[in-house]
Amino acid sequence: MKKNIIALHKITKIYRMGEFKVHALKGIDLKVAEGEFIAVMGPSGSGKSTLMSILGCLDVPTSGEYVLDGKEVSKLSKDQLACVRNAKIGFVFQNFNLLPQMSAIENVELPMMYKGIKKPLRTKIARDCLAMVGLHGREHHKPTQLSGGQRQRVAIARALANNPSIILADEPTGNLDSAVSHEIMELFSRLNDEAKVTIILVTHEHDIASFAKRTITLRDGIILSGETENDTSI
């Protein structure tokens, strides 16, 4: 039996909008094992983004338990969450979210800098990560000098930098054309196969989701299908 990286138990999230309460998540139970590659699908307003924020420790649930890599993280403070994000989670965003004034390698070094890794080691790891995503020789290019696909590769290298437990990719191909999207998804698949990186991916495109080994479908704050590893119904 593989070790569970993520275990969600009865996670709810309620947003207050003045008088109204919005139930974004209504009791999510989810287990993710090490080395899984999961796609989260669902129409807009289904709670995908909220689920990703909670999985990514950017936000805490209103109730429920979230165990990440053996540690309960649903009640942590802001700064403790920052440390968890830094050490255990790698983010890949739709719009890349690279710092424009920094070169590719500096962007990749950034998470390691916040971890306190010294410059020489940091540079070496960043070089390796960039090589892993196929950007060898482009270390000192600024994001504006790179194509969309290359920028996303830099972002993936950055997500890999601190050797996280999990990579969360929020619509990583949303800003890319279909050819480049497939290249990026192949990179994710390769990382999952070869480096055994656990990946959770949010998308609303079925052909992108098909790269993943399991698909979870959300609707109105609950999981419709894909709750367990064996559940393959769509």
Partner: protein, 409 residues
Amino acid sequence: MIHPFEIMRASIRSIGANKLRTSLTGLGIMIGVAAVIIMVSLGYGASKRVSDTFSNMGTNLLVVFPGSARSGGVRLGSSTKPTLTLSDWKAILENCTSIEDAAPEVRGSAQVVFGNSNWNTTISGTTNSILNIRNWHLSEGRTFTDSELRSSAKVCIIGETVAKELFGTLNPIGRTIRINKIPVLVIGLLEPKGSTGMGQDQDDIIFVPITTAQKRLFPSPFPQNVDAILVKAKGAEFIDSAEHEVEQLLIKRHKIKDPSQKDFNIRNLQEFMDAAEESTKTMSLLLASVASVSLMVGGIGIMNIMLVTVTERTREIGIRMAIGARTSDILAQFLLEAIFVSLIGGTLGIITGCLGSIVVSHLTSWPAVLSIKSIFLALSFSVSVGVLFGFFPAWKASSLNPIDALRHE
């Protein structure tokens, strides 16, 4: 955990990324700091000039004048009654313990002639002590000998102005001038002293032995009387006790029962000096506080720009937070940015301020005194401005919610 040095590097990078904005923001601080330094140094200069003029007239100096005369119920002004005598002077010199020196003075004005030039000046009959009391030195020649003082010798020491008017470029030493038609030998030339705080030319004077003035130049019905006694206290802290001692001694010697009816006046130069210094200090404080207003305005400029920066870089803050920056890391980064900008402005302001005060003092002939203290003060002031006005924007940046910050367009 991130090394503080790395945060510093991040701050310096983002300052460098926007050079025009940084320099304009720094300019506000620079002007403020420069203004404070110029104002403080000019203020110090002014008070130094005041204290210089006073110490020029003689430090720790007391002057005893005779009291006012009464003429049929009409009181005349100070020094109208011949009450001070040479024996008063000797008694002061012998009995008062707080004094360093004392000199009697008989003053008069006379027409002085040399060759075909002539000049009207003040003649002061006194002893060598007056030079010590008034911190005056000879640039040439010698002082009076004891026998000259005793024998009312026809010798004199002349001031710079008198020498210039009578002799022009000639060396006056060893030449004879006529004071009230009496030939007098010039034995000494005084160093130039300039004018007093009140604009009197101190160099327009001739010193003669007191006996010469009393017997030959200004013979009076009271040959023992003097116009003033100059007293030098042992030090600034002895001025009050010296004044008290002299007062008590003269009250006793003149057999005065009611001290309010005393027949002499004592003037204390230290009091004038203190009052004058006080007023210049107040003035420089006022100037500095006006100047510090511009430093405040500069600080508000920093705050303004930092707030814009925080809004502009919300996405960057979100990214940094998502990949593991803690609240304190963001706070430190933005606070350091504000501090660096104000420090750069402050340093440039110190340079400008120093140059500025030198230029201003050259143009206006006001002395400027640059003190390390005021420079240090200005620098620490600019850093505090950075902290004070940078804190709110930095706090705003650090309290952003990472999710909202990431979504910010």
